[in-house]
C-alpha cells in the first residue's frame, strides 16, 4: 500500500494539471495574469516564461509568447526579444497581435542598424493587411496586450502608425 501512495499522488497531480489545461488556463498563466493586474511585470514575466516552459501545448501559449517578447523588448533584451518574436510571428500568422509583433521586430532591426532586415519586416507589415477606405480616412484597431499595454494601430492610405500606451512607437510609409 505504501508503494502505491507516490503513484497516486503523481496520478492526481497529472489529473489536476489536465483539468486545469482543459479550462485553457494553467496555474502559471493565472498567476501571470494576477501579477499583471497588480502591476508587477517582472513576476508576470517569470510566470509567462514558466508557462511556456512547463506547458508548451497550452492554449495560452500565444499570449505567453507575446507577453514574454514584449517584456524582453521593454527591458532592451533585444536578442532574446527578437527570437521570441520570430517564433510568435511564425507560429501565429493570423493573430491580431502579429502586426504589433512585427513592429517590435522592426524597432529592434532599426536599433541594430540592419537596414535589409528592417526592409524585409516592413514588407511583411505592409502585406499583413489590405485596407479599403470609402468614407473613412483612417481605420483604428485597438487591443490590450497580455502585459496590459494598450496597443493601437492606425491605418491611413499611405502610412501605418503603431502606438503603445498612447505613445507613437513607429510609423511606416507605403
Amino acid at each position: 500500500m505504501k508503494n502505491k501512495i507516490p503513484w497516486l499522488i503523481i496520478f492526481l497531480s497529472f489529473s489536476l494539471l489536465g483539468l486545469r489545461q482543459a479550462h485553457g488556463r494553467t496555474e502559471e498563466y493565472l498567476q501571470a495574469q494576477e501579477a499583471v493586474k497588480s502591476g508587477n511585470k517582472e513576476f508576470s514575466f517569470i510566470y509567462f516564461l514558466s508557462e511556456l516552459r512547463n506547458n508548451p501545448q497550452s492554449e495560452k501559449r500565444q499570449e505567453a509568447l507575446f507577453a514574454t517578447a514584449e517584456y524582453l523588448f521593454f527591458i532592451h533584451a533585444y536578442n532574446d526579444a527578437f527570437n521570441v518574436l520570430v517564433e510568435f510571428v511564425e507560429d501565429y500568422p493570423l493573430s491580431e497581435m502579429r502586426t504589433s509583433a512585427l513592429f517590435y521586430m522592426l524597432k529592434i532591426a532599426q536599433t541594430w542598424g540592419k537596414e535589409d532586415l528592417a526592409k524585409a519586416i516592413k514588407k511583411q507589415i505592409i502585406n499583413q493587411k489590405r485596407t479599403v477606405f470609402i468614407f473613412q480616412e483612417t481605420k483604428e484597431y485597438n487591443f490590450k496586450s497580455p502585459l496590459d499595454i494598450d496597443h493601437k494601430l492606425i491605418y491611413y492610405i499611405d502610412k501605418l502608425e503603431f502606438y503603445s500606451d498612447g505613445n507613437l512607437q513607429a510609423q511606416i510609409f507605403y
Binding site: I126, N127, T131
Partner: protein
C-alpha cells in the same frame, strides 16, 4: 748549338708559314665553295624557315666559324622582311665534320636582330604547326643560341620608344632546354625538355614591372596544353580607380590543332575571382570562322562582394571575311540569381542576334546590320520581350574614349530610330541614347508590357536611356486613335455599376510620361481623353512591388445614367454636374493594394445624402467588393 737552334727556328717559321698558307688556302677554298654553293645553302635555309632567306655574304673563319652577314627572312609571297640580322657567327663541330662527315652547328651568336612584330606574329600563326613540327624533330644535340640587341618594330616603329633592346639565350643540352632573356625591361626564362615529338615546358616565367606570370605545359604539333597564372598591375589607375590588380589564376587549357582547325577544348581561368570557362572551334581557312562559347559566374572585377552575381553565357558563331566584314549569329544570356538592394529587380536578360554583319570597310567607322534582334528580360514580377528587325547602325569614334552610334530598325509594324554614345567607364560601357518609336500597334507590344494587350492604338514614344552612373529610362508615350479593352480597373467599375460601355473606351489620344530607374517604374502625367470618360493621374511601382498611385476618373453623367445601380445614387444627390469625378488612391503591395476613395464633389454630396448609420454598412459592402476585385 747556336746553329742548330737557328735552324730549328727557321724550320718552325717555315712550318708556321706553311700552316698559315694552308689555313689561308683552306679559308679561300672554303669561302669560294661557300660562294659557289650560296644559293643552295639559302635554299636549304629557306626550307627550314618556311620562308625565303637571303644572306648578303657568307664567310668561313678558321677553325670552325662561319660568319653570315645581313641575313633576312621575308614573307614568302610579298617579300616583306620578317627579321633581319646584320651579323651572325655560327660555330660548328670539327670532330663531327671530320669523324662523322656531319655538319653540326654547336652555337650561334647574333648581334642586332631587327624583328617586325606584326609580320613575325602573322608568320608564326601561318606556320605554327610546321614550326612546332620542326622544333620537336630537332636532333638531340647540344646547341647554344645567343642573340643580343634585338630591336622589335611594329608597323615600322620601334615598340620601345627609348630604343631598349631585347636579348635571348637558348641552350639545348641533350633533351633539356633552357632559355632566358629580356624584352626591354621585362625578363623571361624557360625550363623544359624535348620528348618524342613534344616539348614539355616545366616552367615559363615572365616578369616585368606590371606583369608577373608563370606557365607550364606541353606543346606538340597537334596539341597545346598549359596551366598557370598572370598577375597584372592596374596600369591605368586614373581610369580604373577601383581596381587594384588583375589576377588571372588557375589557367587550365587544352587546345588541339589539326591542319586549319584549332579547337580550344577548354580554356578555364578565373579573373579576379570570377571564374571563366571558354571553348572555341576556330577554322583558319578562308573565310575565318570561330564558334565560341563563353561562360562566367561574374560578380565584379574589383572584388566587391556587394555586387550582384551574374551568370553570363555567350554563344557566338563568327565568320570573318577578307572584305573587312565580320558576320555574327549568337546569344548573350545574363542571369542574376541574387537580389541586392538598390539594384534593378532584374533576374534574367537575354539578347539574341541573327545575321549580324559588322562592316569595317568604311574609313570613318563601323557599320552594323542585323536581320533580327530579340531582347528578353525577366524581373521578379514580370517578363519583357522586344523584337527588332532590319536593324541598321553606324558607329564612329568622336573622341578618344567616345563612340557615337546612329541606329534604326523596324519595331513590329512601326519604326525605331535613335542615336547614342558609348564610353568606357571602369570596364563597363557607359551607354546613353535617345530613341524615337513611331506608329507601333500597341497590341503587338504585349510582350513588353502585358497591359498593352488591352490597349488598341498606334504608339509613338520619345525616350532617353542611360546606364551610367545609374540605369535610367525615361520618356513620353503617346497613343492615338485607340481603345482600352477590359482594362482591370474600368472593367471592375463596369461590373460594379453595371455599366458595360466602360469595358471598352475609345479615345482619340492617350499619353503618359514614364521613368524606370533603380527606385522603380513610374507613369505620370497620365492623360486619357475619351467622349464620356477622362482619366488622369500617376502610377508608381517601387522596390518590393510597392505601389503608389492616384487616379482621377471623370465620367459623363449621361453615361452614368445608363447604369441601373448608379441612377438611384444620382437621384439621391440630385446630381447636376456634367462630369462626375471619382478620385482614387492606391498604395501598398501590388498584389494586395490598399484603396481609398478620395474627396470629390460627388463624394461630398453622397456623404451628405447617406445617413451616418448607413455609411458603415455601405462601406463594408463596397470594401468586400473592392477587396474581391483587387484580389483578382
Amino acid at each position: 748549338m747556336e746553329i742548330s737552334k737557328h735552324k730549328y727556328f727557321i724550320k718552325l717559321k717555315r712550318l708556321l708559314f706553311f700552316c698559315c698558307a694552308l689555313v689561308l688556302s683552306l679559308t679561300i677554298v672554303v669561302n669560294i665553295i661557300l660562294a659557289l654553293y650560296k644559293n643552295k645553302i639559302l635554299q636549304t635555309l629557306s626550307n627550314h624557315f618556311f620562308a625565303p632567306v637571303s644572306v648578303e655574304n657568307i664567310f668561313y673563319l678558321p677553325p670552325n666559324f662561319i660568319v653570315l652577314k645581313s641575313i633576312s627572312v621575308a614573307k614568302s609571297k610579298i617579300r616583306q622582311k620578317i627579321l633581319n640580322l646584320p651579323i651572325s657567327c655560327v660555330r660548328f663541330s670539327l670532330s663531327s665534320l671530320f669523324l662523322e662527315g656531319n655538319f653540326q652547328i654547336t652555337s650561334i651568336y647574333s648581334l642586332g636582330l631587327n624583328l617586325d612584330l606584326n609580320r613575325f606574329l602573322s608568320f608564326t600563326k601561318e606556320n605554327f604547326t610546321q614550326i612546332l613540327d620542326f622544333l620537336t624533330h630537332l636532333p638531340n644535340r647540344d646547341f647554344k643560341l645567343t642573340v643580343r640587341g634585338i630591336a622589335i618594330n611594329s608597323f615600322g616603329k620601334n615598340i620601345y620608344p627609348d630604343n631598349t633592346k631585347a636579348d635571348l639565350n637558348l641552350k639545348i643540352s641533350g633533351t633539356t632546354i633552357s632559355a632566358s632573356g629580356s624584352v626591354g625591361k621585362n625578363l623571361f626564362s624557360l625550363q623544359g625538355s624535348s620528348a618524342e615529338k613534344q616539348i614539355n615546358i616545366d616552367n615559363f616565367k615572365f616578369l616585368s614591372k606590371d606583369i608577373n606570370s608563370q606557365l607550364r605545359g606541353r606543346l606538340n604539333p597537334n596539341l597545346v596544353e598549359f596551366k598557370g597564372y598572370f598577375l597584372i598591375n592596374n596600369m591605368n589607375p586614373a581610369e580604373w580607380p577601383g581596381l587594384k590588380d588583375i589576377l588571372i589564376l588557375d589557367i587550365d587549357s587544352r587546345i588541339t590543332i589539326a591542319s586549319e582547325h584549332i579547337k580550344a577544348e577548354r580554356l578555364n581561368f578565373s579573373i579576379n575571382n570570377n571564374p571563366v570557362r571558354l571553348t572555341a572551334d576556330i577554322f583558319l581557312s578562308d573565310p575565318f570562322t570561330c564558334n565560341l562559347k563563353f561562360f562566367s559566374d561574374f560578380r565584379s572585377l574589383d572584388n566587391k562582394q556587394e555586387e550582384r552575381l551574374k551568370n553570363v553565357a555567350l554563344i557566338a558563331e563568327i565568320t570573318a571575311g577578307n572584305d573587312k566584314t565580320i558576320a555574327l549569329n549568337g546569344s548573350l544570356d545574363i542571369a542574376s540569381p541574387e537580389q541586392k538592394k538598390e539594384s534593378l529587380p532584374l533576374e534574367k536578360l537575354k539578347l539574341d542576334v541573327k545575321n549580324a554583319l559588322f562592316n569595317f570597310k568604311e574609313s570613318f567607322g563601323l557599320k552594323l546590320s542585323a536581320s533580327q534582334i530579340n531582347l528578353f528580360s525577366q524581373t521578379s514580377a514580370n517578363t519583357y520581350n522586344i523584337n527588332l528587325e532590319n536593324f541598321l547602325a553606324e558607329s564612329f569614334r568622336s573622341d578618344k574614349n567616345l563612340q557615337s552610334i546612329n541606329f534604326s530598325a523596324q519595331l513590329y509594324d512601326g519604326t525605331l530610330q535613335g542615336n547614342g554614345q558609348i564610353k568606357m567607364q571602369q570596364f563597363m560601357p557607359a551607354v546613353s541614347a535617345d530613341i524615337q518609336i513611331k506608329n507601333v500597334s500597341t497590341d503587338k507590344l504585349d510582350g513588353l508590357l502585358i497591359h498593352f494587350s488591352k490597349v488598341r492604338g498606334k504608339l509613338s514614344s520619345q525616350m532617353s536611356f542611360t546606364n551610367y552612373p545609374q540605369l535610367v529610362l525615361k520618356g513620353l508615350a503617346h497613343i492615338r486613335d485607340g481603345s482600352l479593352n477590359n482594362f482591370e480597373f474600368l472593367k471592375w467599375l463596369a461590373d460594379l455599376f453595371e455599366l458595360p460601355p466602360l469595358k471598352k473606351i475609345e479615345f482619340s489620344t492617350a499619353s503618359a510620361d514614364f521613368i524606370a530607374d533603380k527606385e522603380g517604374v513610374e507613369m505620370y502625367n497620365m492623360d486619357l481623353d475619351a467622349t464620356d470618360v477622362k482619366i488622369e493621374g500617376y502610377f508608381r511601382l517601387k522596390e518590393n512591388d510597392l505601389v503608389s498611385s492616384k487616379m482621377f476618373l471623370s465620367l459623363r453623367s449621361n453615361l452614368l445614367q445608363k447604369s441601373p445601380r448608379f441612377t438611384p445614387l444620382l437621384r439621391l444627390i440630385n446630381a447636376k454636374q456634367e462630369l462626375i469625378k471619382f478620385n482614387f488612391q492606391l498604395s501598398g503591395n501590388l498584389h494586395g493594394m490598399n484603396f481609398q476613395w478620395l474627396k470629390s464633389g460627388f463624394k461630398d454630396d453622397l456623404q451628405k445624402a447617406i445617413p451616418n448609420f448607413a455609411k458603415r454598412g455601405f462601406e463594408e459592402k463596397i470594401e468586400k467588393v473592392i477587396g474581391s476585385i483587387l484580389e483578382e
